[in-house]
Symmetry: C2
Subunit: 536 residues, 2 copies
C-alpha cells in the first residue's frame, strides 16, 4: 500500500503540481478530482478499497432521523446502485474479491423525507470514505442526495472492471442556493420523458431548480383544470402536445426525488399569444387607426376580468406546484398594441400614467404579484419588471437575463435590496462557437462593487435553454455537458475553479460519465470515452 497523497484545494497550489495532477488524471481520474462540481474541501488518498456490487450496502445510521421507509433516500439507493456499479448485471459472475462488505452509512439530522426541497434547504454534507465503510452525514435528505452523487462519482473501475473507491474526506456545500436550468416547452413541446431525463442529468451536476417555462406565445401545453380551453385551443395539439395534471405531478415527483425544485413560469403580460386562443377578452385587441385590426397584443391590463382570470389560474397553479416561488415573467412587452387601443389610452389617462406605458405594465405586474403573494408564493420576475418598476420594494427576486453589462444590472438589483438570479451569461440555447463552455465556465457572478450584504442577495444563477431551435431531438447534446460548466461555477469555490484549462480534463471525465449514464452529452474535443454512446 502506497503512502497517502493528500490534496487540499483550499491552499495555494504551484503550477507544476497541476501538471502532476493532469498526468495523474490522464492515467485515470480515480480520485476526488473526478467529482464535478468540485467539492468545497476534501482530502484524498491513493489508498483504495475494492467494492463488490454483491457486498455493498446502503444503511441508515443508527442516529439518523430518517430510517428505512424514507421515500427520498430509499428511492435514491435504488437509483444510485446501478450508477455506482454500471456494469453489474446481477448474475453473480463478477466476484473478483472475497466480497468483504462495504457499507455506505447515511445519517441525516432531519426527517424531511416526505417534504419538498425549498429555497432554504441545506444541501451540505460530509462524506468520509475509509477501508470498508463510508459515512455520509447531512442535515437534510437533500444534502444526503448531493453526497450520494459525490460518492457515485468517486467509484471507478480498473481495466478489468473491478470497482474501487479511494480513502477520501469531503466537506461540501453549495456556493449558491439557486442553481437552475430553464426549459422552454412552448416553442417546442418536450415529451415528459425528455424532461425526466433532463432532471436526472441535472442531479448529476447538482442543479437544484427546474425552471419550467411552460407556456409562451407559440403554445400553451399546460392542461388547466380551471381553464381547459387554454390547452385544448392553445397547445400545438390538444391531445398529444400537452402536459396533463398527471404529467405535471410526475415531473414534480421525479424532481423531488432528486432534490430538485420545480419553479413554474407563467409569463405575462407579453408572450401570451397562445393564451388568447382559449380565453377570449384576455388579450388586448389592437387597432389600426380607429378600427380593430384583428390582431391581439399583450394581456389586457385594464379589464377587471383579466385579474379575475389570473387569480383563478394562479390559484390552481399555486396548488399544483408546491414550490414557495413562482416565476411571473414580465419580459419583453411590446407597447405598440396597447398604445393603439383607445380603452387602454383612456385608462392610462384616468390613472395619470400619461403616455408612459411602463407605468401600466408596472400596474399590471403589481396586481399579479399581489395575487400570487396572497397565495403565499414569492414572485420571481425578469429584469424588465425591475427596470421599469417604481414600487421596487414590492418585488422580491429579479432574474437578470439581458446581455451587455449584466453585472451592472446585478449590482443595481442588489443595491435595491432585492435578491438576484443571474442568467445572462448562461444562455445555452444557441449552439454558438465551439469551446464556448470555457466562456460559460469563467463567469464571476459577484465581481461587482457592492457590500457583503449586497453580494449575499445574489442567490444563484440559471442556464436558459430557450426552445426556438431546440426540441427532444437536440436538447441533450446542446445542454450537456455545457450546463455542467455553469453548475460548477454555482456550486464550487470560485477560487478553486477559475481556470478552464485546469478544468478541461475533469470536464472531459465528467462528459464520459454522463455518456456512460446514457446522457447524450456532446464531446468537448477530439478523443474518446471508454464507453461510447450506444444509442443512435
Amino acid at each position: 500500500m502506497e503512502a497517502a497523497r493528500c490534496v487540499t484545494f483550499g491552499q495555494y497550489l504551484r503550477p507544476h503540481f497541476y501538471l502532476l495532477l493532469l498526468i495523474f488524471l490522464r492515467n485515470g481520474p480515480h480520485t476526488v478530482e473526478g467529482v464535478w462540481p468540485l467539492p468545497q474541501t476534501f482530502t484524498s488518498s491513493i489508498e483504495r478499497s475494492p467494492l463488490s456490487p454483491e457486498a455493498f450496502y446502503f444503511e441508515y445510521g443508527s442516529q439518523s432521523a430518517a430510517q428505512q421507509g424514507c421515500s427520498v433516500l430509499d428511492a435514491a439507493f435504488t437509483r444510485y446502485f446501478p450508477l455506482i456499479f454500471p456494469d453489474y448485471t446481477g448474475n453473480g459472475v463478477l466476484r473478483f474479491y472475497a466480497d468483504k462488505p462495504f457499507r455506505l452509512v447515511i445519517t441525516v439530522d432531519r426527517d424531511d423525507c416526505e417534504s419538498y426541497p425549498n429555497e432554504d434547504s441545506s444541501e451540505r454534507y460530509n462524506l468520509s470514505v475509509s477501508a470498508r465503510q463510508a459515512s455520509l452525514n447531512a442535515e437534510t435528505v437533500w444534502g444526503a442526495l448531493r453526497g450520494l452523487e459525490t460518492f457515485s462519482q468517486l467509484v471507478y473501475q480498473d481495466d478489468f472492471g473491478s470497482y474501487f473507491v479511494n480513502k477520501t474526506e469531503i466537506v461540501d456545500f453549495p456556493r449558491f442556493q439557486f442553481r437552475g436550468i430553464l426549459l422552454d416547452t412552448s416553442r417546442h413541446y418536450l415529451p415528459v420523458k425528455t424532461i425526466l431525463q433532463t432532471l436526472d442529468a441535472m442531479a448529476y451536476s447538482k442543479f437544484n431548480v427546474f425552471h419550467w417555462h411552460i407556456v409562451d406565445d407559440p403554445s400553451f401545453p399546460y392542461q388547466s383544470r380551471t381553464y381547459p380551453d387554454l390547452s385544448s385551443k392553445g397547445a400545438f395539439h390538444p391531445m398529444t402536445h400537452i402536459y396533463t395534471q398527471s404529467d405535471v405531478r410526475r415531473v414534480i415527483s421525479h424532481a423531488r426525488l432528486w432534490g430538485i425544485r420545480v419553479l413554474p413560469e407563467f409569463d405575462s403580460p407579453g408572450h401570451t399569444a397562445s393564451w388568447g386562443k382559449g380565453q377570449s377578452d384576455l388579450l388586448t385587441p389592437c387597432y389600426r387607426g380607429s378600427s380593430l385590426s384583428g390582431t391581439f397584443g399583450p394581456v389586457n391590463p385594464v379589464l377587471p376580468s383579466t385579474y379575475q382570470f389570473m387569480a383563478r389560474l394562479f390559484k390552481e397553479v399555486s396548488s399544483v406546484f408546491p414550490d414557495s416561488h413562482i416565476h411571473l415573467g414580465g419580459d419583453e412587452v411590446n407597447f405598440s398594441c396597447w398604445s393603439s387601443n383607445p380603452d387602454i389610452r383612456a385608462f392610462m389617462k384616468k390613472m395619470g400614467f400619461g403616455v408612459d406605458f411602463t407605468k401600466i405594465e408596472a400596474f399590471y405586474m403589481e396586481n399579479i404579484v399581489n395575487i400570487t403573494s396572497a397565495l403565499n408564493k414569492t414572485a420571481i420576475v425578469w429584469q424588465d419588471v425591475f427596470d421599469y418598476h417604481e414600487l421596487r420594494s414590492s418585488l422580491s427576486v429579479v432574474e437578470v437575463w439581458k446581455g451587455g453589462c449584466y453585472l451592472c444590472e446585478v449590482r443595481r438589483v442588489a443595491k435595491a435590496g432585492l435578491r438576484v438570479i443571474l442568467a445572462s451569461p448562461w444562455y445555452l440555447d444557441q449552439p454558438g462557437p465551439t469551446h464556448n463552455w470555457a466562456r460559460f465556465y469563467t463567469v464571476w457572478p459577484l465581481a461587482f462593487k457592492g457590500t457583503e450584504e449586497q453580494k449575499k442577495l445574489v442567490i444563484g444563477g440559471e442556464v436558459c435553454m430557450w426552445g426556438e431551435y431546440v426540441d427532444a431531438t437536440n436538447l441533450t447534446p446542446r445542454l450537456w455537458p455545457r450546463a455542467s460548466a455553469a453548475a460548477e461555477r454555482l456550486w464550487s469555490d470560485e477560487k478553486q475553479t477559475s481556470s478552464a484549462d485546469k478544468a478541461f480534463p475533469r470536464f472531459q471525465d465528467l462528459r464520459c460519465k454522463l455518456v456512460r449514464r446514457g446522457i447524450r452529452a456532446e464531446p468537448l474535443y477530439v478523443g474518446h470515452c471508454k464507453h461510447e454512446y450506444q444509442g443512435v
Copy 2:
C-alpha cells in the same frame, strides 16, 4: 372529386401562385411538393387514391430485367413498406377502406441487382401514380431506389390515419452525379450502427456517396488484415474502437442496398500521426538542430519502404472497398518536420527540388496515385494537391474544400480539365448560427465563368462532417436536416430550388418526415411535428 390541379415546375410561376402553394402546404403538404429533393419535372393532381397497407403490393413489371430474387429491390420493398405505412402494426385492425389492391409496379431495364452503384450509374426514374396502380420505371435498380423514396414521400395520412397518394407523374434524375457526405471516424469513433443510420438518412435525401474519412491523426480505427498493428496500436482502443473487416463489409453492404457508394479515404502524407504508432519508420523523424527531437511529422517520402508499405496497404484497401474511386487526401501537409530532417533535405537536393517542399509533396502524391492507378482505382485528392502539383494531368478528381473564393478554385480545376467535387460551402461540422441551412441551400456550384464542357467537369458536391466536436451523441441533429439542404441543391433543378424562403415549409415537412422515421433531425424553428421524436 375535385378538378385536377396541375403543376409543372418547369414553367414560370407567378408570385401569388407561390402564396397559394404555401397555403396549400400549410394545410397539409400532401402533394408532390412534399418530396425532397424536388423532382425535376412533375404533374400532380388533388385526385387521390386511398392506400391500405393490407392491400398494397410491390410487383416486378413483366418487362422488368430484374425479377423476384433481386437483392437490392427485394430488400428495398421490405424497408419501404414500413416507411410508407409508418403506423401499420400488422394486426389487421386498420381496415378503413374496402381494400381494393394498390400495386406499385417496378420495371428496370438492367438486371444490375448484384452489382455496386458506381460513378456512371443512372439514377433516373419515371413514376406514374394513378387510381389503383403506380408504375415506376428506371434504367437501373439504383434509379428504382430513388423512385421508391419519392413514392414513400408522396404517401400521406389524413387526421384519421388513413393513407392516401395523389395522382402524380414524375420524371426525375439528379443534376449532379456525385452527392456525398463525409463522416470522420478518426477524431471520434462512430459506432457502426451510427454509420448505418446515417446511410438510411442519406437515402431519404437521395445522397449517393458515403465518403468515409476513416483514419487521421488522432486514431486509426480501420483493422487492416495486412497491418493489424495499425489499429491495435493506432486506434483509440484496439478492441472497442475499431472497424473490423466484418464491420466494413456490413457498412458497404448496407450502403449498396440503398444505392450508396462507399468512398474510403486514407489521407496521407499529412494527417497520419496515428499510422506511426503501428508502423515504425513510416513517419518522418523530426529534428531539433542536429539531433532527433523525438517527434514525427508526415509520412517519410524518401524511403522505398514507405512505398512498399503503401502499395500493400492500398492493395488491401482496394480489394476491401469495391468502389472504382479512392480518396487519397493530400491536404494540409506541414513542411516544418520535413525541412528539419537532413535525409529529406539531401533527397530534395539530389532530385533537384531545391527547398521547394511542394515538389517533394507532389513527388509523394504522384507515387501514391500511381500505386492506386495500378490497382484500377481513380484517385480523388483534396485541392491542396492540385494547387502545388505540376503534373496536373496525372490527377483525375479534385475536391475543393477551402473557403474564400471557392468558385475561383472550381474554375481553375475545371479549366485544367479535371473533375471537381465541391465541399467548401457545406462544412456542417461546426454548429454555426441558426438558420444557416439557408446559406447551405443557396449555393451555386456552376456560377463561374467557364465553358459548358468545363461545367460538366463539376461532378457534384459533398457535405463534410468533421469529427473534432462530433460523435454519436450529436452527429444526427447536427447533420440533419441541414445536409438535406445541400442534397436538394445537388439533385434538383437549380432554378426551381433557389429560394430558401420558398423551400422553408417543404423543408419543415421533410424534417418531420425524418423525425417520423426515427432520425433525430433538429428543428428549424418554433413549431411542432405531428409525431415528435420519441427517444430520449
